[in-house]
Amino acid sequence: MSYVPNTDADRAAMLEAIGVRNAADLFRDVPEAVRFPELDLPAPVSELEVLRELKELSEYNVDLEHAPCFLGAGAYQHFVPSVVGHIISRSEFYTAYTPYQPEISQGTLQSIFEYQSMICALTGMDAANASHYDGATALAEAAVMAVNVGRGKRRRVVVSAAVHPEYRAVVRTYTQGAGLVICGDDGNPFDLEALVELMDADTACVIVQNPSFLGYVQEPSTLRTLAKAAHDTGALLVISADPISLGLFAPPSEYGADIACGEGQALGGGLNFGGPYLGYFACREQYVHKMAGRIVGQTVDQRGERGFVLTLSAREQHIRREKASSNICSNEALMALAAAVYLTALGKSGLRKVAELCYHKAHYAAQRLATLPGYELHGQGTFFHEFPLHCPRPVQEINDYLLNEWGIIGGYDLGRNYPELANVMLVCVTEVTTQDEIDTLVEALQDIEEAL
């Protein structure tokens, strides 16, 4: 049976219409010599042999099951309870796309509604959407939303230099052509208060990451000052927050945030070679009509029974057309489900426990590492599960040695994004990191000084 729908007669008609004799004529622009090159392929092998070969190749990869990992910088290794994989692998969930029809999608809609409710509980915000692609696009949507809250009249977006460098790049890419001025991130990443000076009547929002990209938890008093300065000029405070940290530290609502968003990968998502990830997004009720993306709402059906529907859809592109403020009509439903199952499995105290373990282990690591000659913590303050560590030599050199000689994945080289932070490594420690692994890292770093 042929799977190509057009017949020989169809093809002949099409070729005639465009004035060529046969399909090969379409490739005349490709030089004859390279048109059909001899491919140097090995002889065919059996499935068993292919599997063996691929398995062998895959073993060249370094994976987290075998290598202790101190790399975070926006993607975090956390324990994922097996129930998460089981639930999201149910075909009712993993095959479902955006649930337009409430008549047949109550299960999916309810799971999204519960996810939204949990994001609200975590951030202290009034309403959450069904999610965005990842933390970076969620932040870009926050900037766009803030501009729309200002009716497009406020064109300035003030961003802290301690926001993830890739998120800042995405905000710029996302808003290019919109005539926005994105500023503030050429300043000192440790000086949040300096942003107050940058806010004026043209400012739509100020964006802060908490804990910062450098690992530090921002002072609540500073954040409140920033919130007040923003609100006094009619701008919004946007917070990008690691969701696990919210198990331990104050939610964005407590220090005046208007929009809270961030990367939800840490919530049962695993690292997955970089995706799919999850952008969570929540805001205060007064701005809900400006929020992008799908929102699932709870309602009652004709018989008065609880049900779920997509709600406030007049915000969206299929109704608002060219006047829509965002073209996001979809979400990361499967990853949102993973987050909801993860949070449900852990519960309130479980999430706090995970956050506490991250915090205490990271502090144990910082304390041990800072005792090494030439190593010290860069900056000061409370940090969560990551901290900048000043090293006696280039971070890349250390990381190569750690990986090749000790099988350890080192931390993030902050010099890549912050020239003033050359030789500063962002070390990440989560609840999955063992004391033994931390002690081994200390030992390995001592070894480097002797070896190099």
Binding site: H289, L312, A314, R315, I319, R320, K323
Partner: protein
């Protein structure tokens, strides 16, 4: 039966304006609310904002559309109908009364004369309906 109140004037884009001394009130017509069907949300401007005639000053969302609402006369917003926040259905129930959108101070009262009177507006609506909206 769609009503065309005679004590005010209209824009072809279905907003009405009614003069009250130095001030004016604006909203959308009965014909407009009927076309939109159930209004679920009205986004109103801030008091003190100024709009030129024809500029978008509000957005009305119904179950089937989101539409910009245009300023019938140049002016400064003096008050907005905050009742619409919780009761957007007032726009459907009483578009010429409790469903008003804004109270504003026209900078050029002469602009009022350029708007359509009830008869001309009714004719305009009938033509629009015949053309299929």
């Amino acid at each position: 039966m769609v009503k065309y109140a005679e004590d005010r004037r209209y824009m072809p884009s279905h907003e009405w304006a009614k003069l009250e001394g130095e001030e004016a009130v604006a909203g959308i017509s009965d014909y407009a609310q009927d076309e939109l069907s159930d209004v679920v949300y009205v986004e109103l401007p801030a008091v003190g904002e100024e709009f030129a005639k024809g500029e978008t000053f509000a957005v009305v969302e119904s179950v089937k559309a989101a539409s910009d609402v245009y300023m019938p006369m140049t002016g400064e917003i003096l008050a907005v109908n905050t009742e619409l926040e919780d009761s957007p259905q007032l726009v459907n129930e009483d578009p010429f009364g409790a469903g008003w959108f804004i109270r504003f101070r026209p900078s050029d009262p002469e602009e009022y004369q350029a708007l359509l009177d009830a008869k001309a507006y009714e004719k305009h609506c009938q033509e629009e309906a015949e053309r299929g909206g």
